[in-house]
């Protein structure tokens, strides 16, 4: 256990980035569904386009299953022209509430962090 903690401490930046992405995934997936119902692949495309949250494609499905289990999402199989049905997801009322509150948390957090980062990015001081 001590060994594990040590490993976590000296994480390279890429690992930190991966953790950050992973942490934001719930919010990103819920946000994709804000406007309309989508099936898994459409959600993936939304993630790729808008948020550069690159991930193994299979990752999104277990998360969708959990969000549904938490009653934030609802789903339904819909017959498509493609010849096979697709499983569409949409936000429940609780899901909408959750995205709103998560979005506020995120906004506050990002604003504070940006303030902290200003001197770092400006390269002043020292």
């Amino acid at each position: 256990m001590a060994l594990l903690r040590k490993e976590l401490k000296s994480e390279p930046p890429e690992k930190w980035e991966a953790q950050l992405r992973k942490g934001c995934l719930d919010l990103a997936i819920l946000a994709c569904l804000w406007e309309k119902r989508l099936y898994g692949l459409e959600i993936l495309r939304g993630l790729e386009q808008d948020s550069s949250l690159v991930l193994a494609e299979g990752t999104v499905y277990p998360i969708l299953a959990r969000l549904k289990e938490e009653s934030l999402l609802q789903s339904e199989w819909v017959e498509a022209d493609a010849g096979h049905p697709r499983k569409y997801y949409w936000l429940t009322a609780a899901g909408r509430q959750r995205v709103i509150s998560m979005a506020h948390v995120w906004n506050g957090f990002a604003a504070n962090l940006n303030n902290l980062l200003k001197p770092v990015l400006n390269g002043k001081g020292r």
């Binding site: 594990l4 976590l8 898994g40 277990p62 959990r66 096979h84």
Partner: protein
């Protein structure tokens, strides 16, 4: 949509890996991922074996997907709901993964057994008022004895019933909370370990 042996063996492997999910859920998962693979392949005019391989690789290995479902579904399910039966069932699977899980399982079993015993005595009290209750004597405290009533005097009378129910519920609640805490904590730890080794 034409299928292909590579895809079939992929989903056979996935189905096997997901064997600890209930069957309807497992079929649902396979069906959904199959739709994903078909959708991906339909974007290609004449999909070759190489295309299949690429699509499946992008999805992740069956082991990896099954592991993620397990982490997201089983653990979170117990972490969110207070149902002793569900928590125990999940824990039982979890015990197979290591000594910590085993210890927690024993703890849980103990907690729930005490709770269940309290409920049972509450049910028995109206029928055996002289055998069940809170008996205090110089030897200590006794709750129940058959067929001879316990030593000492019964101090609660019929108030024993609501009190036993209350403490039974308290035990259930505290045990479940403790397990939820451990699952969240070690569940996360397991995820980290898995992520670190991936």
């Amino acid at each position: 949509m034409t299928s292909n042996p590579m895809i079939e063996s992929y989903f056979a492997a996935l189905s096997t890996q997901l064997s600890d999910l209930p069957q309807p859920k497992r079929e649902e998962v396979v069906r959904e991922l199959r739709a994903h693979v078909f959708d991906r392949l339909e974007q290609i005019a004449q999909p070759t074996d190489d295309d299949c391989r690429t699509v499946l690789r992008a999805l992740g290995t069956p082991q990896e997907i099954a592991r993620q479902y397990r982490v997201e579904l089983l653990l979170s399910r117990s972490a969110w709901r207070i149902s002793p039966w569900r928590v125990l069932r999940t824990l039982f699977r979890w015990t197979l993964t290591g000594i910590q899980g085993y210890l927690v399982f024993i703890m849980a079993l103990l907690g729930y057994t005490v709770a269940a015993s309290l409920y049972v005595t509450a049910l028995l009290k109206p029928f055996f008022p002289h055998n069940v209750g809170l008996f205090v004597s110089h030897e200590g405290i006794t709750l129940t004895r058959f067929p001879v009533p316990p030593m000492g005097t019964e101090v609660l009378g019929m108030y024993y019933i609501p009190l036993a129910v209350f403490f039974g519920y308290l035990f259930t609640f505290v045990t479940t909370l403790a397990i939820r805490f451990v699952i969240r904590r070690f569940g996360k730890l397991k995820q980290r370990v898995a992520a670190a080794s991936a």
